[in-house]
Amino acid sequence: MNKVIDWNEIFQLVLTATGETLYMVLLAGLFTLLIGLPLGVLLFISRQGGLYPMPRLNKGLGGLVNLGRSLPFVVMLIALIPLTRLVVGTTLGSTAAVVPITIGAFPFFARIVENALDEVDKGRIEAILAMGGDIWHVIFKVLLPEALPALLAGITLTLVMLIGFSSMAGVIGGGGLGDLAIRYGYQRFNNQVMVATVVVLVILVQSVQSLGDRLVRSLAHRR
């Protein structure tokens, strides 16, 4: 039978798990941004007929990105264990989980960035080139600022996805809310913990989404 645990204990459990989830999501989010943003820019400018066409590189990177996106995350989590050990020295815990989460997310984010940049009016790029701008001017004065609302929407989408990924981190002992739900809610039939994690997850996703939406709207408002 399920053992009844008191609310104080539940609170402690959920608090720790939330902390772990936030830790994994924010750290993996940061790395996803740091890797995915330049990669997305590179994918965009290296296209055939793009600003700096490098068809071979583009095809190679595109293939890697597609590979990264075609594996189910749980499979990737396990397949990447050797790499995780190489990078962080251990294969267990929240920090270890950041590696596969980042690797699972950045290809997706890179595609989002590429598509967001593709939406920028080509005439604006041309205007900068016509006034003597180089590719860096185009990237930093046109592409990124003009695509900022779309990029923010993409970051929001990615963060929500990261929350989803992080819930599978329990498989390699990463902890977090998903792990808590599986260990207490599923394996021990503890409905209180189950409900608590669901509530926290919903609140987390909702606040990320509405914060993102608000930022996007405040930017779009003046444009």
């Binding site: 005439g123 205007a127 900068i128 006034m131 001017h137 004065k141 003046r222 444009r223």
Partner: protein, 323 residues
Amino acid sequence: MIVVEQLSKTYASGQAPALDQVSLSIPDGAIYGILGRSGAGKSTLLRCLNLLERPSSGRILLDGEDLTALSDIELRRQRQRIGMIFQGFNLLHSRNVFDNIAVPLEIARIGKAQRQARVRELLDLVGLSDKALAFPSQLSGGQKQRVGIARALAARPAYLLSDEATSALDPQTTASILELLRDINRQLGLTIVLITHELEVVKSICDHAASLAHGRLVEAGPIAQLLANPDSTLGRSLLPGYSTPLGNDALDLSFFDSLLATPVLNELKHQGVELNLLASGVESIGGRRVGRLRVAFRHPADELQLNRVVAFLKQRGVRVERS
């Protein structure tokens, strides 16, 4: 001076070339209008002038320097001397008016204080000082194009390329933008090359014109010459027209400038040739005053008499067209 030599552009092999052996020269201080239907290649030609489009063959000489032979860095430096405005304005929506105008100055690495002073000057020039902090989405089409012009002028270019800059604007706004272009041509001595499909634009501000069809140059030259040349189709199309076709016994006469004050028709009358005035008008085209008359012989004229009259008029400098 911009000299275009034997410029050709083919997008895909096997396809008809977008530009076919086009040569023309654009003198300093000119307002040079390039006319053509859509697909005639005029946009390609204009975009070749700052190498936004690389020609398949031919040269573009900017003050004697061949743009097609320059390195990337040198080309970018030359581009700073060529401003460009667009039909779609192409302003950055992430920046306000002030910061949009500052972009070319940032690219030219001009210091902040100087940049700000220059932008204020330009805002004043285009009459938008009160809109400095507005974002492009808050402006009308005409205001956006004014910002585009200010931005194009920011780095003090010697040339301005205009890619159908007024085609998206209503007639009144078009007129005010054209007036602004004429002002900066006069005040700053800027050479302007514009492409358009609107004859009116060429008529109202250009002093040189060229026409393109199917990628080939049809005619080019000073408008005064085109107007005076009876064989010039472009000159013909720039003259005011009538909606009814020219009858057998009628003539269309064009008088230029001082000729307007000459009593040519009176002289004809003294020779016993009486003409009825069917229609008339005076317009200013390419900076010249042009009077245009449609006249018919009062008494039926035979071929001999008609030829004699036409020869007399031509000899007096009148442009004559007959059916």
